[in-house]
């Protein structure tokens, strides 16, 4: 187990280095650079050249014959190894600081979305499987079909319009109210309001979290419900379930203790895969809900060609996905004793 973990971590580090190279080349290969966007409509070739020089973008990518260390990628990797991701080209805000400030927002939203998806998706899948081809099965299948096919931005706007503008129940967007006095600790506002013993803020934060979590959680919910249904159906037909039933165990106990536990394995895999999807979905959800997380930040950086931000954001997202997948792999062993890591 220990060596397995070390091997996995080493491999992750190598993958990160590879990703840094790919992103570096990739963002610079897209036509239009930060200078073009910063100058906007007033951009003349001369002004763009002047700005490129000021930003150091005129330097060679990999190798400068005059001064081998004065090239963009070696400098970047060198800084990266020192834990420095650079600064936003225009804002001058260190990418590391911005990640630290924004990751909690994305984490809080993604976790809430995942919890929502599990809380609704799992029972829906179980019910659909147990009452196969019944009315409830049809309802669950239809909802999950709609969940998968409805674009997140559309659903988000719809939710916001209906619950905030029409009914006035929930705030339309943002993480926290205009007059909030919450002083963050961890950056996970829900947790922070509990730590501060601030009930008003807790309620405020929760209200702001509901709509974006539903919007972001809708696709994972649908997928989880479908996987749970089919996986449970699969398991329910197997011999050991029949044996358990034959032993005279209560049907609920058979389903929940024996069948569901084994049916969860593919569900956990899907949750792992969804970690990446959640980060991807966060781009749209965060933009729609003015959520100050990583998704909307990287999205902006891409349209502005802010190289250090795009690089830092992608490397960080890859790291998060790697860690989540590692956790998923480790949880297989916990769910199924037959699986062992060496």
């Amino acid at each position: 187990m220990g060596t397995y973990l070390i091997r996995r971590l080493l491999r992750t580090a190598l993958v990160m280095l590879g990703i840094s190279l790919v992103v570096f080349v990739f963002v610079r290969s897209i036509p239009g650079d930060p200078a073009t966007v910063m100058l906007g409509e007033r951009g003349t070739p001369e002004a763009a050249a002047r700005l490129r020089e000021q930003l150091g973008l005129n330097k060679p990518w990999f190798f400068n014959p005059a001064n081998p260390l004065d090239a963009q990628y070696p400098k970047y990797v060198n800084a990266l190894l020192h834990g420095d991701l650079g600064s936003g080209l225009k804002s001058n805000i260190p990418v590391r600081d911005e990640l630290r400030a924004r990751f909690p927002a994305t984490a809080e939203l993604s976790l809430s979305a995942l919890i929502f998806a599990l809380a609704v998706g799992l029972p829906a899948g179980v019910i659909a499987a147990l009452r196969r081809n019944s009315f409830w099965d049809n309802v669950a299948t239809t909802i999950s079909l709609v969940g998968v096919s409805m674009p997140v931005f559309w659903l988000g706007l719809l939710l916001s319009y209906f619950f905030a503008v029409k009914l006035g129940w929930l705030p339309p967007s943002a993480r926290i109210g205009n007059e909030s006095t919450l002083r963050p600790i961890s950056g996970l506002y829900l947790l922070d309001s509990i730590l501060r013993g601030d009930g008003r803020s807790f309620w405020d934060v929760l209200r702001h979290l509901i709509l974006p979590a539903i919007a972001l959680g809708s696709i994972p919910l649908a997928i989880i419900a479908r996987i749970t249904r089919s996986s449970l159906l699969d398991v329910l037909g197997q011999d050991y379930v029949r044996t358990a039933k034959a032993k005279g165990l209560a049907p609920n106990r058979v389903t929940l203790k024996h069948a569901l536990r084994n049916a969860l394995l593919p569900v956990v895999t899907v949750i792992g895969l969804q970690a990446g999807a959640l980060l991807g979905g966060a781009v749209l959800t965060e933009t729609i809900f003015s959520w100050p997380g990583i998704g909307s930040w990287v999205y902006d950086a891409i349209s502005q060609r802010d190289y250090p931000v795009i690089q830092g954001g992608v490397i960080f997202a890859a790291l998060v996905v790697s860690v989540v997948n590692l956790l998923v792999d480790l949880s297989y062993a916990a769910l199924d004793p037959r699986i062992q890591y060496r």
Binding site: P31, V37, N92, A101, P172, A174, N178, S290, W291, W297
Partner: protein
Amino acid sequence: MKKFLITALLATLPAASAAGTLVFGANGDPVSLESGNITDGISILVQRQIYDTLVDFKDGTTDLKPGLATSWKANADNTAWTFTLRKGVQFTDGTPMNADAIVFNLNRWWDKADPYGFRDQGRTYEIVGDLLGGYKGDASAVIKGIVKVNDTTVRVDLNKPSSVLPNVLAAGYFGIASPAAIKKDGAKYGTPASTPVGTGPFVFQSWQTGDRVTLKANPDYWGTKARVDTVVIRSIKDASQRLNELKAGTIDFANDFTPDALKSIQADKNLVAVKRPSFNVGFVSMNNRNQYLKNDKVRQAIAMAINKKAIVDAFWNGLGTSSASFLPPVMAWANSSKVPADYTYDPAAAKKLLADAGYANGFSIDLWYMPVSRPYFPTPKPIAEAIAADLSGVGIKVNLKTEDWAKYLDDRNKEPGFDMYMIGWTGDYGDPDNFYGAYYGANASDDINWAPANLVSLLEKGRAATSQADKAKVYAQIHEITYNAAYRVPVVHSSPLAAARVYVKGWVPSPLGSESFNTITLLGKK
């Protein structure tokens, strides 16, 4: 005794008029709160609240009024401008605003060797290069030197005559910051980890990136003191969500709605639609490198074949006007009386012109439209489709094309460029040079391959002209030349749409896109 009575009387007035939190919905985050190093509208908007500029604009216009300078004067040939500073003004950190502070700020932007410019840490101050020709020592730079005459007087010496220096320095890019604060925060100044300090009506409190900037009223402001306690400027990128927030009452006012939101705003009894005075131009550019567009008759035919008025009526909901001038209506004084008010829409005559040019059977051409919404073209794609339909009516087959904004901006300047493309301009200050100079002449982009010598020298002459009467003569000629050449056909001058809750009073939107919020009251906000 009299003073006591007045204070006592004032105390009985409703407190609501001088209190409350004003919440603005901006279409994004500021990039930086450091003056001279920004070009985007949201940074300017936030900075306007924190900083003052040397010269200011009268509310709702582009006319100049005193700012931190109470007066300014040029020498006879417009090569040196002297600014007399307001006395007794302090930055909100308690340090004095004086000639040293002004020289410090100007040098920081203009002198590449200035130690407080932090250029080695990525500062670029590109707007100085754009509006003032370059930096210290550059051959093209407008400024030659910045001199402290005495504690309340600063002189700016120029390399070439310019009548517009005070206008340029009034633009929202050039807020005057506290030198002490810059020295204290160093390279961090202007980022969320710093405390920007100015002399403006509001004092910086906090900035959560991607979310909001919070400001407090400056109790010692030298000008009109703010009537609210707090201003929160929220970043709400999505226009539909901005409207949702406004309708839900979670923000008080907001900017940058597309014209199609007008109906929905007008239908809500809690909201008022607010039109910004038009200060932009959206136009179609034609490239001289294209074999068809090289021909004068073809370009004139195209200008005639586009039913601009119908297009503006259809897509701007009454929030735009069409004219034959590059200049927005407020600068009509610089238009030529020999040029008609608008292009004539005459498809039959256009067809005839095309036949004269040898293209009776028409031809096929690319029209590029922008992938982003801009105040001058809020919905570029359907507008491009309408133009294409008009042109197909006279036999010109149009291929509509678009690409990512960064690539678009890049490709238009790369040979061979686009055949025809949509672009525009929003002004920084009220001088015709700010419009013509950006797209014609020596300092303009290279997208149409057309800059005749007489036009270039007229543009130089316009920049040096001292009186408005002299300017009017020069720009009338420029208007005639550019109109007849028809390389760039103005389509619209739009009024960007903003909106507010009904209780927001005293908001005077500036044509330049941002204004101080110190005049706004919130009487009756729940």
